[in-house]
């Protein structure tokens, strides 16, 4: 059992609860269970199923972890050898306060949740993703640090990643990790959602060594990162669209100017036959229009092929969220502060804090608008090239045109 975060005395919970504007406060203990093949000392590797946990450097022993510990996944490679690592996160929750804390943003999808009396029971609620991964069901047994726990419930996070993979009563968590009377996180509910900022200020002032993250902060971070990733995805799509348009114009233009150059002689011949410049020009422009359509179609084909390729290869952009700003920071951060109960304020959003990632599939949207624009631009490109070609053709003295490559 590795203790992932700097701890606070659980008296802090009471101190926090006394701050003005605070309706209730509840403590919790975040833990990481890490099993590796014996050689590594505990705490040298800080792994959180592939993502950085908290503000690594500030936690005890963070960052100086096992060699190669910076990768993702469950394998730590060190000294040329591979070690199997099996880790999962635990969260000790105060079962006496069921309506506040990370579990409130998960929905029970199997079994039951903790009873308020199960303060020291050997029972756990498992996050559905982890349950699926480990093939756990209600009634199964889960061994944590040689202690057998019964799985009483499966919880599914309402959105994003769950705060922990396994929830257990706080007291049990403290005993397991040998940190009696310690918490890593305090969830706070404000009496009034309008007072959240005031509460934040008060806590930061009066309880030293805390980082306070409000759900507003969180949602900002979350949406900010999401925006970045989504923005990237859509800007790739946009550039692709530009590429489509550019291809269309270029193809049309090149086709037309190539056609004009190739046919200078023909135009010269027609002029020698007594064709007026205007008639020759119309001929060129007409052909340019055709080229424009061809260019447009080709451009679209190229663009769609590109879009298809991008989508097929499907690089997934991952937005890493919250790890550094979340409630579960190494400095014993205070959990997110829910709005007042009666105000329908944000849920204790701190559960999102443990650094979650949101996958944004990179699709390359080539919209109908783009297609239409491509055709239009190709026509324009063809016409511009055609007009240029026509201008050239009409300026061309027939004598010169005929002399070419003679």
């Amino acid at each position: 059992m590795v203790q992932g975060f700097q701890t606070l005395a659980d008296s802090t919970v009471a101190t926090v609860a006394k701050q003005s504007g605070v309706d209730r406060a509840v403590g919790g203990l975040s833990l990481v269970d890490l099993k590796i093949d014996g050689e590594f000392r505990r705490g040298e590797i800080q792994r959180g199923e592939g993502r950085t946990q908290g503000q690594g450097g500030q936690g005890q022993g963070f960052g100086q972890g096992g060699p190669g510990g910076g990768g993702s996944g469950d394998t730590v490679t060190g000294g040329g050898a591979s070690f199997g690592v099996d880790s999962f996160t635990l969260y000790g929750t105060d079962v006496t306060v069921p309506d506040l804390g990370p579990l409130t943003t998960s929905t029970l999808t199997g079994g039951r949740t903790f009873r308020t009396t199960e303060t020291d029971a050997a029972v756990v609620v498992v996050d559905s993703a982890y349950a699926q991964q480990k093939d756990l069901a209600v009634g199964d047994e889960l061994t944590v640090k040689d202690v057998k726990f019964e799985v009483i419930g499966i919880a599914t996070a309402d959105s994003g990643q769950a705060a922990a993979q396994v929830y257990l009563p706080l007291k049990r968590a403290q005993t397991l990790s040998g940190s009696a009377g310690k918490v890593t996180t305090v969830y706070v509910r404000a009496t009034d959602s309008t007072k959240i900022d005031a509460v934040k200020t008060a806590i930061q002032k009066n309880v030293s060594g805390t980082t306070v993250t409000t759900s507003a902060d969180l949602s900002q971070t979350v949406s900010g990162s999401l925006d970045t990733a989504a923005g990237l995805a859509s800007s790739v799509g946009r550039w692709l669209s530009y590429a489509v348009l550019l291809a269309a114009v270029l193809v049309a233009g090149l086709l037309t100017s190539a056609a004009v150059s190739r046919r200078v002689r023909e135009f010269g011949t027609l002029k020698a036959l007594g064709w007026k410049s205007g008639r020759v020009t119309r001929q060129v422009v007409g052909e340019a229009l055709v080229n424009g359509v061809i260019g447009g179609v080709l451009g679209i084909a190229v663009g769609l092929a590109g879009a298809y390729a991008v989508t097929a290869v499907s690089p997934t952009l991952t937005a890493e969220l919250g790890a550094s700003t979340g409630g579960f920071t190494g400095r014993g951060g205070m959990g997110g502060m829910g709005g007042g109960a009666g105000f329908g304020g944000g849920p204790g959003a701190a559960r999102t804090a443990a650094g979650r990632s949101v996958d944004i599939a990179l699709t390359a949207p080539v919209s109908l608008t783009t297609v239409g624009l491509a055709v239009l631009l190709a026509l324009v490109g063809g016409l511009v090239a055609g007009a240029f070609g026509a201008w050239r053709a009409s300026r061309l003295r027939p004598a010169d045109a005929l002399r070419r490559v003679e």
């Binding site: 002689r265 010269g268 036959l273 410049s277 027939p398």
Partner: protein, 238 residues
């Protein structure tokens, strides 16, 4: 028909100035058949362009039936070309995407001839050059000699007064060359054309009643009374 007075043509190639024609005085009567000869670069093609209104001289006058082509606008020159002058080129200059018939029709387009009439006349012209069976063929489907026949049909379909040919047999083998030469000569005789032909071929030159030799932009004319087909105004042929 033609009277050239002091015609010069200068080309500027960068700094260099080329006198393609350096003072040409020349008369060509209606129904005349003139062959122009001379070393390469002598100004033969340039002279032909002056006659055909494809280009204007730097100085001097090119009178065609009393009108000085040197003083005409591009538009007037275009109109004169479309009506009076037929061209045949060494490299045929057919439009590769058009059939033989359509190629011939292009000469009638600027005259505003209706499509049906164009087709009929084009077919007729192709028949007169021996290509009645090839109306729908693309140039690429025709031999060199046949392509030149199409070009000749195109030059004559509008019934011009002047036929200008710049090395019309230059790209053809000997047998075909003679066929084309005979064809042109026959057409000249038949139609009373004024016919000016540039050629490098001395055997063709020998057949001409009048021979102009262009050297360094200057012309010398030799009459050849013994030449075949002299004199040959239309209809007076025995």
């Amino acid at each position: 028909m033609y009277e050239l007075i002091g015609v010069t043509k200068q080309y500027r190639r960068g700094q260099e100035r080329v006198d393609a024609l350096a003072g040409i005085d020349l008369k060509i009567a209606q129904g005349d058949r003139l062959v122009i000869q001379g070393p390469t670069g002598g100004g033969k093609s340039t002279l032909l362009q002056m006659l055909g209104g494809l280009d204007r001289p730097t100085a001097g006058s090119v009178f065609l039936d009393g009108t000085d082509l040197a003083g005409l606008s591009e538009g007037r020159l275009t109109a004169i070309r479309s009506r009076y002058i037929g061209f045949v080129f060494q490299s045929f200059n057919l439009i590769p995407t058009l059939t033989a018939q359509e190629n011939v029709e292009t000469a009638l387009v600027p005259l505003g001839v209706k499509a049906a009439e164009r087709r009929r006349r084009a077919a007729e012209a192709l028949e007169s050059v021996g290509l009645g069976e090839r109306l729908g063929h693309l140039p690429s489907e025709l031999s060199g000699g046949q392509q030149q026949r199409v070009a000749i049909a195109r030059a004559l379909v509008k019934r011009p007064q002047v036929l200008l040919a710049d090395e019309p047999t230059g790209n053809l083998d000997e047998t075909t060359r003679d066929e084309i030469a005979d064809l042109l000569e026959g057409l000249w005789r038949e139609r009373g054309l004024t016919f000016v032909m540039v050629t490098h071929d001395s055997s063709l030159a020998r057949r001409a009643p009048r021979l102009a030799t262009l050297r360094k932009g200057r012309v010398t004319v030799t009459e050849n009374p013994k030449a075949a087909g002299t004199p040959a105004p239309a209809g007076k042929e025995g």
